[in-house]
Symmetry: C5
Subunit: 97 residues, 5 copies
C-alpha cells in the first residue's frame, strides 16, 4: 500500500470533503469508516467502542492497537503496520514539509 | 493547548488559590475537577477510584494512564498527551528555572 | 534447526507449491499446518483463532506470541525462538539479497 | 523524604534491632510494618499476599509495584517512587561504599 | 548463591547423570525438581502447567517468570534473579568457553 493512495482511497470511499482528508479532523465515525474501507469491517466497531477519533488514531502505538482494542491479533497486526503506522508517517511528514 | 494557559484555565475553573496552582498541592478532588474541566467528565471518576492526587499525577507515565485507570483508549490517549504530559513538562521545567 | 531446511521441511509437509514457499503467501490454514508440522499441534489452533496468516506471522514479536495467543508459556517460547524468529530472519534476509 | 531518615524512621517504628536495619534481613512482616509505617496501611496487606520479604522488595521494579500487587494506582506510584526506589538506592549505594 | 554450586547441588538432588547436568537436556519434570530443590516447592507446579522444560527455561526473561506463570510476586522475583538468570548466565558462558 502506497501511503498517499491509501488516504485518497479512503477519502473517496468515506465521502470526506478535501478539508477533512487529514486524519486530525476525522470523527470517530470517520475512523470506523476508514478501518472498514481498508478491509477490516469486523474490527472497525472496536474503534467506536474505545472512542478513537482521528486525533486519538494519530497517537496510537503498536501495543495500544494489539492489546487495547480487544480485537484478534492477526487483523490487529495488519491494521497497525499497514494503515495506522502509514497514516501517522504521512501525517507527521506533511507537518515537516 | 498552550501549557501555561491550561494551568491558568484549570486554576480559574477549580477555584484554586494561587498557592495551590502547582499540581504538587492538588488533592484527589482537585485532580478530578481538573480532568473534568479539560473536557473528560466521564473519565474523571477513575482518578478518584485510583486515588490519584497531584503528586501521583506528576508520576504517571503513558502506560499507567492507558491501562491502569480502566478508561476508554481514545480519551486516555488525549488525557495523557494533551494534559498530563504537558502538566509534567511545565512542572519539571519550573523546577529547573 | 537450520532456517532453510525448516522452510523446505514445512513446504514438503504442507504440499505447498514453489510459489507459496514464502510465508508472505501463506493462508491462515498454511500457518496452522506449519505450526503443526514443526511439532506444536496443540498450539496450532490458536493461530487460526487469532487469524494469523503468513503476513501477520512475519509481523509477530516475542511478546505477541507469548501473551497474545493464550497458549502455554513453554511451547510459546519455542515456537517464537525456533520457528517464527527464524522464519522472519530468513524472509527479511532474502529481501536484502 | 531523605533516604537515611526514612530507614531510621522505619527501624524505630518497627522495633528492628540494628542488625536488621538493612532491608536484606526484613521478613515479610517487617515489609508489611514498613509499608504501614510510611503511610500506606491499606496497601500493606498486598505485600504479605504476594510474599514480599526484604530481599524481594529490593528486586522490585516500577511495573511490578504498579501491576503485580493489585493495589490502587495512586498509592502504588508513591510507594514505589518515594519508598521502594529510595530504599534500593540507599541499599545499593551502601554496597559500593 | 554461587552459580556452579547451584547446578551441582541440583544435579545431586535430582539424581541427574553427568550428561544431563546441562539444563538443555532437562525434561519438564527435571525443571519441577530443580525449582523444588532450590526452595520453591509451591511454585514448582506452575512450571509443569506451563510445560517449561530446560530449553524453555533457558529462554525465559524476567517478565515471563513474573507474569506468565501465575505465581506470587515475591517468590517469582527470587526464582528469576537467583536461579533462572544464574542458570542462563552459566549456560551461555559455557557456550563461549
Amino acid at each position: 500500500v502506497e501511503p498517499q493512495s491509501d488516504l485518497l482511497f479512503s477519502s473517496r470511499h468515506m465521502n470526506l470533503d478535501s478539508t477533512r482528508v487529514s486524519p486530525v479532523f476525522w470523527t470517530v465515525s470517520d475512523v470506523v469508516s476508514y478501518i472498514t474501507a481498508v478491509g477490516f469491517p469486523e474490527q472497525a466497531a472496536a474503534f467506536r467502542t474505545q472512542e478513537i477519533d482521528g486525533k486519538a488514531l494519530l497517537l496510537m502505538q503498536r501495543n495500544d492497537v494489539l492489546t487495547g482494542l480487544s480485537i484478534k491479533l492477526g487483523p490487529a497486526l495488519k491494521i497497525y503496520e499497514r494503515h495506522i503506522k502509514v497514516l501517522q508517517k504521512t501525517h507527521f511528514e506533511d507537518d515537516f514539509c
